[in-house]
């Protein structure tokens, strides 16, 4: 340690920097943390990209080995199947991992208290996790969606390819499904502050409990409150029995309200926990 080297003096009084600049820097810092978390990033990439790769590899092999019984690997139908894979199943899992990491990373590393000690508002510390997690999720899902489009067009052969509208709607659907899951995961993980607990609970809810509940017809209209059904409502391709592809039939307005409520509730809970917990 050097006793003689002075540090550049700080000004007395209030902090400098506009709120936008500070928010951008804090979000950038949260993105850096997520980018460098190799384990989570690798698993998320595997979940986002590997299923599509495997899907096309299998479809290409099947078509090559038996063209009569297996059509080309690309085209609209395969695009629809691939879209379901990345937007409803594996993409949300990747988003969930990223969201949980964003929500618990500081506490798990033991540095949350060091960020609180900066004097920065705890709500600000929580708030910047959301855009950071979304940025990483969106970047990953754009990659997965690009892979889907490449396979769809490259292996289409004589099959019809998706229209521009369908491609645009499919992208929006993918980002909606994964984005909502990501934000809910940030809020829920910030609430629990436990990475394993948050991952297990969210996967159990989204992959196991939600589909079961959606198929219990005796639950009636209460099933409209399921996040998975509200997301599926916006699918541009057929994914289930209900209108717009959902298992449960619900209106567009209801679907929007359901998603807004899910996101808002978990953001509020996560913010409350971050603001009040002992650091």
């Amino acid at each position: 340690m050097n006793a003689a080297t002075p540090i550049a003096p700080a000004p007395a009084g209030p902090r400098r920097g506009s709120p936008v600049t500070i928010a951008a820097q804090m979000t950038g810092a949260d993105i850096l943390k997520l980018r460098k978390k190799r384990g989570i990033l690798t698993w998320s990439l595997v979940l986002a990209l590997a299923p599509i790769l495997i899907y096309f590899v299998v479809a290409v092999i099947q078509h090559a080995s038996s063209p009569a019984s297996h059509g080309p690997a690309g085209g609209v139908q395969n695009f629809s199947d691939g879209l379901r894979v990345i937007a409803l199943f594996f993409g949300p899992l990747a988003a969930l991992l990223i969201g949980v990491e964003a929500g618990t990373g500081d506490a798990a590393a033991g540095v949350f208290r060091d960020l609180v000690v900066t004097g920065r508002s705890r709500l600000a510390l929580f708030a910047t996790r959301v855009p950071a997690a979304l940025a990483v999720t969106v970047a990953m899902m754009l990659g997965a969606y690009a892979l889907l489009l490449i396979g769809t067009f490259a292996f289409a052969s004589n099959l019809p390819t998706p229209s521009g509208t369908l491609i645009f709607d499919g992208l929006g659907f993918t980002l909606l499904g994964t984005g909502v899951l990501c934000v809910v995961a940030v809020g829920f993980a910030s609430l629990t502050t436990s990475k394993p607990a948050a991952i297990i609970a969210l996967i159990a809810w989204q992959i196991v409990a939600s589909p079961i509940l959606a198929n219990i017809k005796s639950l009636g209209s209460s099933r409209e409150g399921l996040m998975s059904q509200a997301i599926a409502h916006f699918s541009p391709v057929h994914v289930g029995e209900g209108g717009h592809g959902a298992t449960v039939v619900l209106s567009g307005g209801t679907a929007v309200v359901v998603l807004v409520v899910w996101v808002a509730v978990f953001l509020v809970l996560g913010a409350w926990r971050t603001a009040t917990m002992d650091a």
């Binding site: 007395a12 500070i22 804090m26 460098k36 190799r38 590393a109 900066t118 002992d278």
Partner: protein
């Protein structure tokens, strides 16, 4: 209704920042966990521009106190201010010029030292980024700044923790057991750095520690805390000299005769031979000051025809004072310490 003529508290504090005499002040500060008081009605004043030791045995409430000052946990009762700002009401403004290490310094292990500082700099504000390089240089981590923290030793993490504190250009550093994990050379460098911060840069450094020697060497003020209560506080020299135990080293031409005389004296609690001469512990005599007791000892020896060549008060160490006032006095170590 007329507007208040009083300026807001924050503005008053801002104007008087340079005139602050106390960096930290608490009144009746209390933290309870259930029925147990971890901090019990503590009144603490940390003089501005000093190295202040917050000294106490393990479990005395040191870290709890720090956590309250930094807004990491709520106080159950009482008030506190940091750099003239009430906490938690103006926590953000109060902590803008505070750097702290609470317990062991923790970092994102997957990031480099420099990246970890970038994370904190982002939270502190744009102007903080320019302090990353000098802060790393100051703690001697420039060469290793781009290695991942998971490869750092505990000592290196301590240094990086200090660098993180320096990003705030702190008027007040709060360090919890800061020399943990440092090797002897590192501890010496750390002491020099802290003294430079206090003496050359006018910063206030608040160090919690259970290491008496460390506090005595680094700090010029201290508070002794035990079981959540401040037992005493003040300048280190005053704390040590406030001891009720007064000792003398006496040099005479006939030690054996002097020993007989002293052991028979009412003003002497204990006298024994040592390598330096006779070591004499003075007893408390009503209406008599320690100086008068020393004079009485000298008079008794000279009166008996002994030649006194040395009469030197033994400087009381903080360690002895600490053991006198903390709960350690009541346990089995007491007799050992006082014998």
């Amino acid at each position: 209704m007329p507007a208040s003529v009083e300026p807001p508290q924050a503005r008053r504090d801002l104007k008087t920042l340079d005139d602050l005499t106390t960096a930290v002040e608490t009144v009746g500060l209390t933290k309870r966990f259930g029925s147990r008081a971890a901090i019990d009605s503590v009144d603490l004043q940390v003089p501005r521009g000093s190295a202040f030791g917050f000294l106490g045995p393990n479990g005395a409430g040191k870290t709890t106190m720090i956590r309250m000052l930094l807004g990491l946990t709520h106080a159950s009762a009482g008030t506190m201010s940091v750099l003239g700002r009430p906490v938690p009401a103006e926590r953000s403004e109060a902590l803008a010029r505070v750097g702290a290490i609470v317990e062991e310094p923790r970092f994102h292990p997957q990031l480099t030292g420099r990246e970890n500082l970038r994370i904190v700099a982002a939270a502190r504000g744009p102007e903080t980024h320019e302090r990353i390089v000098p802060a790393l240089r100051r703690v001697g981590l420039s060469e290793r700044a781009d290695e991942k923290v998971k490869k750092y030793s505990l000592g290196m993490r301590q240094r990086l923790g200090v660098a993180r504190c320096l990003l705030a250009d702190p008027l007040l550093l709060i360090l919890d057991e800061p020399t943990n994990g440092l090797d002897p050379g590192g501890i010496q460098e750390f002491r020099e750095m802290i003294r430079a911060m206090v003496e050359q840069e006018g910063r206030t450094v608040f160090i919690s520690s259970h290491l008496l020697d460390e506090v005595e060497k680094i700090c010029d003020h201290a508070a002794i805390v035990d079981r959540g209560k401040i037992l005493m506080q003040g300048a280190i020299s005053e704390l040590a000299e406030g001891s009720t135990r007064h000792e003398l080293i006496v040099g005479v031409d006939d030690p054996l005769r002097a020993l007989e005389l002293l052991q028979a004296s009412d003003s002497v609690l204990q006298a024994q031979r040592s390598d330096e001469g006779l070591r004499v512990v003075l007893g408390e005599v009503p209406d008599t000051t320690p100086a008068e007791s020393v004079a009485a000892v000298n008079a008794a020896l000279v009166g008996a025809g002994l030649a006194v060549s040395r009469l030197e008060p033994v400087r009381q160490s903080l360690e002895k004072r600490f053991l006198e006032v903390t709960s350690r006095l009541s346990d089995s170590t007491t007799e050992e310490v006082l014998s």
